[in-house]
Amino acid sequence: MAAPGVASAETVSGETRPAFGTVAARLAPVLATVASIAAALALWEFVSRSGLISEEDLPAMTTTFQELWSMMHTRAFWAAFGQTVRGWALGLGIATALAVPIGILLGSSQFALRAFRVPIEFLRPIPSAALIPLLFLTLGTTLQSEVFLAAFGAFWPLLVQTIYGVRDVDPVALDTARSFGVGRFERLYRIKLPSAVPYIATGLRISSAVALILAFTAELFMGTPGLGQIMNVAESFGLTVQVYALALATGFLGLAIYVVFSAFERWALRWHPSQRAAVQ
């Protein structure tokens, strides 16, 4: 569907002159989306101001946004924001650097996959949250703890997706390459890797969200510096408005990461949507 701006440009040029109905039909969903968001924000304001939920428990929407706005003018906020992003980026980076090569290795060899299937199936569902106390006692409240936790959590979805991707290579393409004498390394580089890219992109989208959750968790529970840590401090001082504003900031960060990584996923998937089976 064309953007609303494109639609109105057409009307001005007068060449195509779509009926008013078409423009309205294109604009309506956008307006409805905006209206829906506005309605939710208004509801938030109303519930708090009317005392349906006391303002002490749920600060009004305007109060919260004002608080966020004034926090955004402080250096401490951006320092914490940067620390959270750093923990997230390092965790996701390390997870990618490990999961993709290991996934390619395990996906290329039936034997290796079977040998490591049981440990993977057992480690994968372990909630990384369970490792928090262990990390607290071993690595302490350091950046390493946060990065380890984020990397551990982000590793598994990416590993599984990479294995799926490599195993899903078109066997005809592989056999053709082999019969043309294309070497083992080049087959990997030219055929297996490109066809695994869409799966890896899906894995990255999932893992990027997981890494943020765990970076924030490490800060909230272990006190590693970052948004989670200042939220913990605000909470223990009973600064409810600040807690809400920080949650809002974290939500926007999560949304930004999601938007970027799902755009990358769509881009990676553009050339073979059919390959995209039932991935979560």
Binding site: R117, P119, I126, L137
Partner: protein, 261 residues
């Protein structure tokens, strides 16, 4: 290598590698003598003493109850909300911004808020928290599943006069079910994580609480036993859901196999 020898070697590796990892853990911990990393044998003894079954009722049952209640609410709400939203274009347009926002929100950022808002650190807060974050994967997959239904199927149902609730129950729900289960698998693993987080944040019982207390009192063996238990719970719950899915979707696999030929 002959085919049979290869299979034998593969099976041997499948058994040997996990055992080798466990043995390496035991040997390394015996040799390292680090109190933070107790021996595998110590952990297993502790596991057996704690969870089989002296503390089972006190801490495992509350945790499982919270997971079951939170996950159950999320499944019911996700399907009940997802079907009408998925069937209506305007429903999707109006609902998607909210779903996308909450799906992208890191759950721990709402932990302090959930305590403030619900005035509770008891089951009410924990179940609400688990249910809220388990809702979105199920909701999104239900919407997607409903949208993906073959229009011919709906048209056929309409022309045979199958309408209203009967159409939803007999056509829409079964057709969307495979994808709903995909969402449920994501949500169930989330539920275990949320259980640990809420209990570790503030609580008086549960596996996450044991984790917190044993950390605070530097009791390493119970802490490791709790970590192992959470892993085992995650594994078993996932297995249980896969079994349920196989049973519920047996018709689907049969149908897929038949149409593939």
């Amino acid at each position: 290598m002959s085919r049979r020898a290869y299979h034998a070697a593969a099976i041997a590796a499948e058994i040997a590698v996990p055992l080798a990892i466990l043995a390496a853990w035991q040997l390394w911990t015996v040799q390292a003598q680090d109190p933070k990393f107790p021996r595998l044998s110590t952990i297993l003894v502790e596991f057996q003493e704690l969870w089989l079954f002296s503390q089972f009722e006190l801490h495992v049952v509350p945790s499982l109850t919270r997971i079951a209640a939170g996950f159950g609410i999320a499944v019911v709400l996700g399907i009940l909300l997802g079907i009408p939203v998925g069937l209506s274009r305007w429903g999707r347009i109006l609902a998607m911004p909210h779903i996308e926002w909450w799906r992208a929100m890191p759950p721990p950022a709402l932990l302090p808020i959930s305590v403030v808002l619900l005035h509770s650190i008891e089951n009410r807060q924990k179940i609400a928290f688990i249910a809220f974050f388990c809702l979105f994967p199920i909701l999104l997959n239900t919407i997607d599943g409903v949208r993906g239904i073959d229009p011919t199927m709906i048209e056929t149902a309409r022309s045979y006069g199958v309408r209203g609730l009967a159409r939803i129950r007999r056509i829409v729900l079964p057709a969307a079910l495979p994808q709903i289960f995909a969402g449920m698998r994501t949500s169930l693993s989330l539920a275990v994580i949320m259980m640990v987080l809420t209990e570790y944040f503030s609580s008086t019982s549960g596996v996450g609480y044991v984790l917190l207390i044993s950390k605070n009192t530097l009791q390493l063996a119970p802490m490791w036993a709790a970590i192992v238990l959470i892993g085992v719970l995650g594994y078993l719950l996932n297995l249980l859901l896969i079994l349920v899915e196989r049973r519920v979707l047996a018709w689907h696999r049969g149908w897929r196999a038949a149409t593939a030929q």
